[in-house]
Amino acid sequence: MNQLKRWLGIVWIILGPVTIYYLIKTAAEEINKKPVLDTKIQWAVFIIIFIPIAIGMVIFGYYALKGEYDRLPENSKEI
C-alpha cells in the first residue's frame, strides 16, 4: 500500500500543472469566443484561485512520493 501511495504521488504532481494548462486553454478559447469584460473577469478569477490550489496538489504529490503519508501522525506530539 505504501508503494502505491508513493507512486501515485507522481500522478498528483502531474495533475496540478495539467489542471492549470486545461484551465488556461479553456479560458483563452472562451475569451476569444466572447471577448467581453464579464468573460475575462470570470476566467481571470478562476485561474487566480485555482493556481495556488494546483500548487498545493503538487506539494501533496511530492509529500506522497517522499513517503510522508506512509504513516500518519497519531497524536499531537508527532506534529
Binding site: 500500500m1 490550489i53 506522497a64 500518519l72 506530539k77 506534529i79
Partner: protein, 516 residues
C-alpha cells in the same frame, strides 16, 4: 478541565453554537436564494443570463473570501480564544447582511449599488470563514471522545437548516405582502426582498446574547492557563511540514469532494430545477424544503454512526454514491418536467399574452410571441411561450421558424412527490459526506492550532470547490449547450479525485484524545 463536559453543559454548548452558526448560514444563503431578484435590482442587464451570472459571481465572491476569513479568524481563535472570535464573526455577518437590505438599488445610486453589495458580500464571506471552524472546534472540545461525531453533527445540521430557514422566510415574505398573490410577488420583487435581510438583525441579536453567556472552550482555557497556546498559529499550521501535509490531506482527501457534493445537492439542484427544468419559483423551493426537512435528521445519524465505525468510509461512500447516481437523478429531473407524454386539456388552454418584438439576431426580422397557459390531464399547468420569427428577407419569408418553450411549470402531484424523493436522495448524500466531517477535521489537528488548521481546508473545500459549483456548472452548460447535464461533470470529476485520494491516504482511525 480536560475531561468532557457534563451532558447538560454539552447541550447548552451545542445549542448556543448551533443557533449562531445557523444564523450565519441563513445570512449567507438568502443572498444566493434571491439571486434572480438581486440581479434585477443591482446588476441591470438586458441579458438575464448575464445578470444572473453577475450575481452568481458575487455569490461566488462570498465563497472565495471564505478561506481568507478562515486564516484571519482561525489565527485569532487560536490566539485569543474560540468564544470571542466567533462572537466577532457573528457581529460582522449580521451587520453585513442587514446592510445589504439597506443598499439602494442601481436605479437610485447607480454603480455604487453593485459595488456596495459586492463589498458587503465579501465581508459576509470573511465572517463565515471564521465562524464554522470556531463552532465545530468549540463543540468538539466539550464532547466526550466516544460521542464526538454525534455531538458535532448537530453543528453540521445548521448549514442545511440555515438554507431551510432562508427559503422559508423568503417564501412567507413573498406570499404575505398583499392579500392578492400577484400583487404580493410584485411588491416582493420591488422592495420586499429586503425583509429577509432585515430579519437577520433580530436573529443575530438573540444569538449574540446567548453566546455572551457561554464560557471559553475548556481545552483552550487550559492551554492558555498553562501558557501553551500558539504564538504564531499560521506559521505552525502551514510552515510546519508535518501539519501542512495533514492540511493538504484534509483538503484533497475529504473537504474538496464533500464541498462539491454539498453544493450540488442543495444549490445546483435548486438552480437546475428553476433554470433548466423551468419549474415554478414556489414549487422549486418547496421541493427543496421538503427534501431538506426529511433528510436533515440523517446528519445526526451518520455523525453518531461515525463514532462507531469511523468517519472515513461514511464520507467516501457518500461521494461514491453521488458520482454514480448524479447523472440518472438529474436526467430524471428533466424527464419529470417535460411536457412530452402528457395529455393537454385543449379546452382549458388560455391565451395570456400576444406581442411582436424585434428579433435579437437580426433587427430587420421580428418575432411574434404568444404566451398561453396549458393544462394537462394529470393536473400539471405549464406556461407555453411560442415564438414565430417573421423574416424580413422575402426569400426566407416562407420558412417560418417556430420555437416553443415552457416556463413556470406547476407540476402534478405525482411528479412533485418524485422530485421531492430525488432531492431527498441528493441531500442524503450531503448528510453522509458532511455529518462526520467536523469530528474528522478536529481529530486531525492539535488544540493549539486547531482553529486555523481545520478552517482553511474546510473553507477551500466548501468555499472554493463547493461554492463555485453552481457557477461553474452553469458555465459548463453554456459551453456544451447540447448537453443539459454537462454541468455535473465538474462535481463528478472533483468528487472522484477526492474519493480516490481519501480511500488511499486517509486513516479510518478515531482519535481517542483531542486534548493534546
Amino acid at each position: 478541565m480536560t475531561k468532557a463536559s457534563s451532558s447538560k453543559t454539552i447541550w447548552q454548548v451545542i445549542a448556543a453554537s448551533s443557533v449562531g452558526t445557523l444564523i450565519e448560514w441563513y445570512d449567507f444563503y438568502i443572498f444566493g436564494s434571491l439571486a434572480t431578484v438581486i440581479a434585477s435590482q443591482f446588476f441591470p442587464k438586458t441579458n438575464p443570463t448575464a445578470a444572473l451570472l453577475s450575481t452568481l459571481a458575487t455569490f461566488a465572491a462570498g465563497f472565495i473570501v471564505r478561506p481568507f476569513g478562515a486564516l484571519v479568524f482561525g489565527r485569532l481563535g487560536d490566539l485569543i480564544g474560540r468564544k470571542y472570535t466567533f462572537l466577532l464573526t457573528l457581529i460582522l455577518m449580521g451587520g453585513s447582511t442587514f446592510a445589504i437590505g439597506l443598499v439602494p438599488g442601481y436605479a437610485t445610486i447607480g454603480f455604487a449599488a453593485p459595488l456596495l453589495v459586492l463589498l458587503l458580500r465579501l465581508l459576509q464571506g470573511l465572517a463565515l470563514g471564521g465562524e464554522y471552524g470556531g463552532a465545530a472546534t468549540y463543540v468538539a472540545e466539550h464532547a466526550p471522545a466516544n460521542k464526538r461525531g454525534y455531538y458535532t453533527s448537530w453543528i453540521q445540521t445548521t448549514a442545511t437548516l440555515g438554507l431551510f430557514l432562508s427559503l422559508g422566510v423568503i417564501l412567507i415574505t413573498r406570499h404575505y405582502l398583499a392579500p392578492d398573490l400577484n400583487t404580493s410577488i410584485q411588491r416582493f420583487n420591488d422592495w420586499g426582498w429586503r425583509i429577509p435581510f432585515w430579519v437577520s438583525i433580530l436573529l443575530v441579536g438573540v444569538s449574540i446574547y446567548i453566546r455572551l453567556r457561554m464560557n471559553e472552550s475548556p481545552l483552550f482555557a487550559k492551554l492558555k492557563t498553562e501558557g501553551k497556546t500558539s504564538v504564531n498559529p499560521l506559521k505552525e499550521s502551514f510552515g510546519n511540514k508535518t501539519n501542512l501535509k495533514m492540511v493538504l490531506l484534509a483538503l484533497f482527501g475529504a473537504t474538496m469532494g464533500q464541498g462539491v457534493v454539498w453544493y450540488t445537492g442543495q444549490f445546483y439542484a435548486q438552480s437546475f430545477l428553476e433554470n433548466v427544468c423551468n419549474i415554478d419559483f414556489d414549487q422549486s423551493r418547496t421541493i427543496l424544503i421538503w427534501g431538506i426537512l426529511l433528510a436533515t435528521p440523517f446528519f445526526v445519524v451518520f455523525g453518531g454512526w461515525s463514532d462507531k465505525i469511523g468517519r472515513k468510509w461514511i464520507m467516501l461512500i457518500g461521494m461514491l454514491l453521488a458520482i454514480c447516481t448524479y447523472q440518472p437523478i438529474f436526467k430524471q429531473f428533466i424527464a419529470l418536467t417535460e411536457p412530452g407524454g402528457k395529455t393537454e386539456l385543449t379546452e382549458h388552454r388560455k391565451l395570456l399574452e400576444q406581442k411582436t418584438v424585434v428579433s435579437d439576431k437580426n433587427p430587420a426580422d421580428s418575432v411574434r410571441l404568444v404566451t398561453s397557459e396549458v393544462r394537462y390531464s394529470d393536473g400539471a399547468v405549464f406556461k407555453e411561450i411560442k415564438a414565430d420569427t417573421l423574416f424580413a428577407n422575402a426569400a426566407l419569408a416562407g420558412a417560418a421558424h417556430t420555437s416553443i418553450k415552457y416556463k413556470d411549470k406547476k407540476l402534478d402531484t405525482a411528479s412533485y412527490r418524485k422530485l421531492v424523493a430525488l432531492i431527498f436522495v441528493l441531500i442524503l448524500y450531503v448528510t453522509m459526506v458532511y455529518g462526520p466531517i467536523a469530528a474528522f477535521l478536529v481529530e486531525l489537528f492539535p488544540t493549539r492550532i486547531r482553529y486555523t488548521s481545520m478552517s482553511l481546508p474546510y473553507h477551500i473545500g466548501n468555499g472554493v470547490f463547493g461554492g463555485l459549483t453552481p457557477f461553474i456548472a452553469t458555465l459548463l452548460t453554456t459551453i456544451y449547450v447540447t448537453d443539459k447535464l454537462s454541468g455535473l461533470w465538474y462535481t463528478i470529476i472533483v468528487a472522484a479525485v477526492c474519493l480516490f485520494i481519501g480511500a488511499i491516504y486517509i486513516s479510518n482511525r478515531i482519535d481517542p484524545d483531542v486534548n493534546d
